[in-house]
């Protein structure tokens, strides 16, 4: 079986979606748990329960992000170059938060001092909130387009700064992300804990779910009628060497709806976002945490897919120089690299899923004050 370059690019666009969704689902509840930590746990014992729900698994979960970044580097090197350097200071903040979080989980309960522990608790909150917000803001900026252009040697210049990222539209996208991951974290905690901690997590998670529905609808309407989307003008070869400068692009309000009218089936993506959020709120409101968690997971899948589907084939458009925009057809690696990476992914992703499932099976069950006390290795 041989795959042509065009199909490989679409497959890698889908795989990028799978990896980002994997990150948002798996690491998402860690981030959400961090955001909820100071509010769901009111004393040290409760907070240790919250931290130990993710204690055995956060390290594995975080690899979804590292793998996501690695896969972008390998399969979409131009996206990696432009997004990471363009959003320079935002990425620095994400990085600091992502370093604080593992260290916080590991070190917090290693010393008995009250100040020591409560400082780490708030750092864990920051470590959850900041990446959740910035990933959403970055998505918003991708939808609006970023101010970059390439010269003839493909050196990029970027005409913007940290505050330029914080447009009102991008902030709404950031809040969508925070609400979504708080719902997800709440659902996870409701599932893994009991008593007062589970009750608080359910209540806060349900609030976040309602906020998600409102914010997702707002962002949707804004995307459709407020900001300008992008379109490729004329034809662009789908199997040529990656050279973004070889195409013409136009902007128009409503262009991000094109895919939904040409392929109505894609409406399933935003629909899943809403249905998932509602299911999450219902599950958490009616003390059915499993339904809540299925709902929040569905919402995460739906929201991430909505962003991807709206923009296809664009991945990172530029409003400064429209033809510098990066699309599925001209920002990928070579055919050989896409094949190699596909083979690697087909071999290893099933193995990863298998042992991840094994680990979740080993740590299955509720985390309570008792189980935390009983295990000397607990955080």
């Amino acid at each position: 079986m041989t795959l042509d370059y065009e199909s490989l690019r679409v497959i890698w666009w889908l795989l990028l979606g799978v990896l980002l969704t994997g990150f948002a689902v798996m690491d998402g509840f860690d981030l959400g748990t961090g955001i909820l930590l100071p509010f769901v746990g009111r004393n040290d014992a409760e907070r240790r329960v919250v931290i130990n729900t993710v204690g055995p698994v956060w390290e594995g979960n975080q690899v979804w992000l590292i793998l996501g970044a690695g896969a972008i580097f390998a399969a979409w090197p131009l996206i990696y170059a432009v997004a990471f350097s363009g959003f320079y200071l935002a990425m620095f903040l994400v990085l600091c938060s992502l370093i604080l979080r593992p260290v916080g989980f590991k070190y917090r309960s290693k010393m008995p001092g009250k100040t020591w522990r409560s400082s780490w608790d708030w750092l864990l909150f920051v470590g959850g909130f900041v990446p959740a917000l910035i990933f959403g803001v970055a998505m918003g900026n991708a939808l609006e387009g970023a101010p970059f252009r390439f010269d003839e040697t493909m050196r990029m210049s970027y005409d913007g700064n940290l505050f330029g990222l914080l447009s009102p539209y991008a902030l709404v996208c950031g809040l969508v992300s925070v609400a979504m991951l708080t719902l997800h974290g709440g659902a996870y905690l409701a599932l893994k804990t009991e008593g007062i901690v589970a009750a608080r997590a359910s209540r806060l998670g349900a609030f976040a779910g309602i906020a998600l529905i409102v914010l997702f609808a707002t962002a949707g309407a804004w995307t459709a009628y407020g900001i300008e989307g992008y379109r490729i003008v004329g034809t662009l070869a789908h199997d040529a060497a990656s050279n973004p400068l070889a195409k013409t692009v136009s902007r128009a309000t409503g262009a991000w709806l094109d895919n939904y009218s040409t392929m109505p089936l894609t409406l399933a993506a935003p629909a899943l976002g809403f249905i998932g959020a509602m299911l999450g709120v219902f599950g958490l409101g009616s003390a059915k945490p499993i339904i809540g968690f299925i709902g929040s997971t569905t919402a995460v899948v739906g929201v991430v897919a909505t962003a991807g589907v709206s923009m296809f084939p664009f991945i990172l458009p530029s409003f400064l120089d429209l033809s510098s925009s990066l699309t599925v057809w001209d920002a990928s690696s070579s055919k050989t690299t896409l094949v190699i990476m596909l083979v690697a992914a087909l071999i290893f992703v099933p193995i990863i899923l298998a042992y991840t499932a094994y680990v979740y099976n080993v740590v299955w069950g509720k985390v309570t004050t008792k189980t935390v006390e009983a295990d000397h290795m607990s955080y």
Binding site: E59, G60, I99, M377
Partner: protein
């Protein structure tokens, strides 16, 4: 032109964060395997002391591991944030090993490290042992893929330039995988990690014995570390020699700079043991030389010559002139892809394209470069000789010391006298920082010696940077220094506390209200 301040700041940031990251990596590499060995003994003999050893060294492992994992994210991100042109130019090749590292190795170690800590009461003995070994395997495979990526920067095989996409693309992935430089660097690096892990166990056990506590625990730990350390120390030096040999085949300038060999000498060349190389005067002051030795190490023959710095600079001047033609015809091809004349000129000189780019440091119009600029660019291909010369010698001296140290430790352990000589225990304790020092020096030799290239002979370092304002890099650099310093203090504080707590006090600490633990911590 590319802002030189931006280049210097980006290099400083990458260097500092990489050296910092590598404070944690070697211990993770070495201790993970030692944990596997100790737990295997426990499962085979069923004696609880081996379980205690695994758990206690595991607690210290955990404090270190988390720092290695987190600071590793910085390394991956920085290729995109600070080296965007690099990411575009070689991402097609360089990105793949990084992504496969995530798929094959990092997932494995990160998933099973959770089981190592949380699985003791939840899994069978054998299942837990498997988790520990999978953790060690993941850690080591992770090093393999990172060094395949790094090896490609030193010896860029299996790739060709594509004028349409304006970047390097994979032509043979198996050449990238089985790159001899990558293979020897991998074994050299993990062995250095094993030496670090062994020294860590030796030094802390020696401290227990010096203060007269946990004697059984410490003696057994030292026995394991002594034999593992000896094997690893031998492997570091032997494989270090192998990497010297492979480097001499593809990075002749690096070898010439390390040796401060200014002009080609008749074969076999002598090895300069001591001296003060002076790049401006192009000579080495006060040098002490061992005849023949360098020629034998670098070429494994008595007749082959090791080329000197000035000879290589002359050679590179020719490559820069050829690279100018490649660069000029490439620009024509970018605007007129079907120009046959430009195409054939480009194909002839494409191998020297990177050398042509060296001129971009002095002029935006490479084709109009003056002879003086070409001369300057040719001398730019010489890395800074003095720091390389001394880093290398210090690293080798430390490597020799480790062989002697572990050989003596092994002899003592065979005679069951590890706890009998206080001077040896004191030596073990003060030797604790040395493996870290030699690892860092090793990276200085490898990466500083690669300058002025990010990808040897293909892409100059200054060309590789992102187009970000230098002020942003100032901000992140200062941010990293402050943030990393605070983290280092916290890490060392916890590490020392938990060493002092010892095997009897290190678990169960998290419970508030246990007065004995709080008292043990002196709070």
């Amino acid at each position: 032109m590319i802002d030189p301040t931006l280049v210097e700041l980006s290099r400083a940031q990458f260097g500092i964060t990489a050296l910092y990251h590598f404070l944690f990596v070697p211990l993770t590499l070495g201790l993970s395997v030692l944990l596997g060995i100790m737990e295997s003994v426990y499962v085979m003999t069923g004696r609880p002391i081996w379980r205690e050893m695994t758990r206690y060294w595991g607690v210290l492992f955990g404090i270190n591991f988390v720092m290695g994992v987190s600071t590793g994210i910085t390394m991956e991100f920085q290729f995109g944030t600070n080296w965007a042109y690099y990411s575009h130019y070689v991402g097609d090749i360089f990105g793949a090993p990084l992504a496969i590292e995530g798929l094959m190795a990092f997932f494995l170690e990160a998933t099973f490290v959770g089981m190592f800590f949380f699985g003791w009461d939840r899994m069978s003995k054998v299942a837990h042992l498997c988790a520990t070994w999978l953790l060690a395997l993941g850690t080591n495979l992770s090093a393999l893929w990172i060094l395949i990526a790094n090896g490609w920067m030193q010896n860029p095989v299996g790739a060709v330039f594509n004028a349409q996409s304006m970047r390097m693309e994979v032509s043979s992935f198996s050449d990238v995988l089985f790159n001899p430089v990558a293979q020897s660097k991998f074994v050299h690096t993990v062995s250095a990690g094993y030496v670090t892990g062994s020294m860590f166990v030796m030094a802390i056990s020696a401290w227990f014995l010096l203060v007269g506590r946990n004697r059984e625990f410490a003696r057994r730990s030292m026995t394991v570390a002594a034999s593992f350390g000896l094997a690893s120390a031998l492997s570091v030096v032997v494989l270090g020699d192998e990497s010297g040999y492979t480097a001499s085949q593809n990075q002749r300038m690096k070898i010439a700079a390390i040796e401060a060999m200014w002009v080609t000498e008749p074969a076999p060349a002598g090895f300069t043991l001591f001296g003060f190389p002076d790049l401006d005067a192009r000579e080495t002051h006060m040098k002490i030389e061992i005849p023949w030795l360098l020629g034998l190490i670098a070429t494994r023959s008595t007749t082959e010559e090791v080329p000197g710095i000035e000879n290589l600079v002359q050679e590179n001047k020719g490559r820069i002139e050829s690279g100018m033609l490649a660069y000029g015809s490439l620009l024509t091809l970018r605007s007129h892809p079907n120009d046959a004349e430009a195409k054939s000129l480009f194909d002839t000189h494409v191998g020297d394209l990177g050398y042509g780019m060296l001129l971009r440091k002095y002029t935006d119009h490479v084709l109009d470069a003056t002879p003086a600029q070409i001369e300057k660019a040719a001398w730019d291909t010489v890395p800074d000789v003095l720091p390389l010369f001394w880093s290398f010698r210090l690293m080798v001296a430390l490597g020799m010391f480790f062989i002697g140290f572990f050989a003596y430790a092994f002899r003592l352990s065979a005679k069951r006298q590890l706890d009998k000589h206080r001077w040896f225990l004191k030596l073990a304790l003060v030797s604790l920082p040395l493996p870290w020092l030699s690892s860092e020096l090793g990276w200085v030799v490898a990466e500083y010696g690669r300058q002025p290239w990010t990808i040897d002979g293909v892409l100059p370092t200054f060309m590789s940077v992102s187009s970000v304002p230098a002020t942003n890099v100032w901000l992140s650099l200062i941010g990293f220094i402050v943030f990393y310093s605070v983290l280092a203090v916290v890490e060392l504080y916890l590490m020392i506390k938990y060493v002092k707590l010892g095997p009897e006090g290190a678990y169960g600490l998290p419970e508030l209200g246990r007065d004995d633990r709080a008292a043990a911590l002196g709070e």
